[in-house]
Symmetry: C2
Subunit: 171 residues, 2 copies
C-alpha cells in the first residue's frame, strides 16, 4: 500500500493504474484528479477524486452510474465482477442468497432499471443484505432525477472506502 | 443570493451567518471551512465544507448527526424546525402524513434511535415519502457503524443541495 509521498511521486500512468478502479470502470476520474496532485493529505486526494465527479457533465455522471454491475446480477453469476465489487458484494452477504432472495433481487433490479434506465447502486459495505433489498424496494418510489443523485452519492461512499483501502494513512 | 466573489469578500462572521445553517445546528463546520477561502469555484466552496466534516473527529461527527431533528418528529410538531428542515420535510410530503403513517414513522424513529443512539437522517429532497419510510425500515437492519456512515453521507447530500440554494452559480 503506497504512502501519500509515494502517491505524489507516481507518473500519470501509474496513478491511473493505482486509482483507476476507485470508480467502477471509469478511469477517466482518476486521470482528471491527477491534475490536482501533489496532495497534502489523504483527504485532499479523496476530495480531488470526489470533485471530478461533482464537476462532471450530466452525461458523464450517467455513464458512471451505468458502469456499475447489478447486485447479485449476471456479472456476479458469470464471475465477471471487478475484484473490488466481488469483495464488497460478498461482504454484504449477497453471495449466499437463497434462491427465493436471488429471484426477488433480480426482479427488483429489473423493475428499477426499467423505471430509471440505469442499475440500482448502493454502497454494499455500508448495508447488510436485508437493508439492501429493503432500500432497493423503497427507492423505486423516487423520481429518476432523485435516483440519479442517490446513485452518485452512493458511488461517492463506495469510492471513499476503496481509497481508504489503497492509501497508507501514514505519510 | 451572493455571487462567489461576494462570498470571498465576506468577513468570518458574515461567512458563518451565510453558511452556518448548511449543516444543521453545526456552525463550526462553516467556521473551519472559511480558513480555506478564497474559493475559486462554487464547487471548491462545497468541497471545503465537505472536507471539514470528513476531517472531523468521530465525536464531532456523532454530534453533527445528533443535531438533526427526527423526520415529522416533535420539533416538526412544535414548529421548532430550522427553516431549511421545515422546507425539506414539507417537499418530501412529510407534512401531510395520515395519522396512521405518522404513528408508523414515530414508531420507526423510536426503534432507530433505541438501536443506534442517534436520529435517522436521510436527505428528504432526494426521497419521496414512501421511499423515506421504506429506507428507514430497511436501515434498521444495519450495524451502528454502518448507520453512522450512512447518516454522514446523507448529511453531505443535504448540505450540497443547501449550498446550491445559497450561492449564485455566476461569479
Amino acid at each position: 500500500m503506497p504512502t501519500l509521498d509515494e502517491v505524489n511521486g507516481l507518473t500519470p500512468r501509474e496513478f491511473s493504474a493505482t486509482f483507476g478502479a476507485v470508480y467502477e470502470h471509469s478511469p477517466w476520474i482518476a486521470e482528471r484528479a491527477f491534475e490536482r496532485a501533489p496532495f497534502a493529505t489523504p483527504l485532499d486526494l479523496q476530495l480531488a477524486l470526489y470533485g471530478v465527479v461533482q464537476a462532471a457533465s450530466e452525461g458523464e455522471r450517467l455513464a458512471l452510474v451505468q458502469a456499475h454491475p447489478e447486485l447479485a446480477g449476471k456479472e456476479a453469476g458469470a464471475g465477471a465482477l471487478t475484484e473490488a465489487s466481488a469483495r464488497e458484494q460478498s461482504a454484504a452477504g449477497l453471495g449466499t442468497l437463497t434462491p427465493d432472495q436471488k429471484a426477488e433481487l433480480r426482479e427488483l433490479n429489473r423493475r428499477y432499471r426499467e423505471a430509471f434506465g440505469f442499475p440500482f447502486v448502493i454502497c454494499a459495505r455500508l448495508n447488510r443484505r436485508d437493508a439492501i433489498l429493503g432500500t432497493l424496494r423503497a427507492r423505486l418510489a423516487n423520481t429518476r432525477e432523485q435516483e440519479l443523485a442517490n446513485a452518485i452519492a452512493q458511488i461517492g461512499e463506495i469510492a471513499r472506502l476503496r481509497i481508504a483501502d489503497l492509501v497508507d494513512r501514514a505519510r
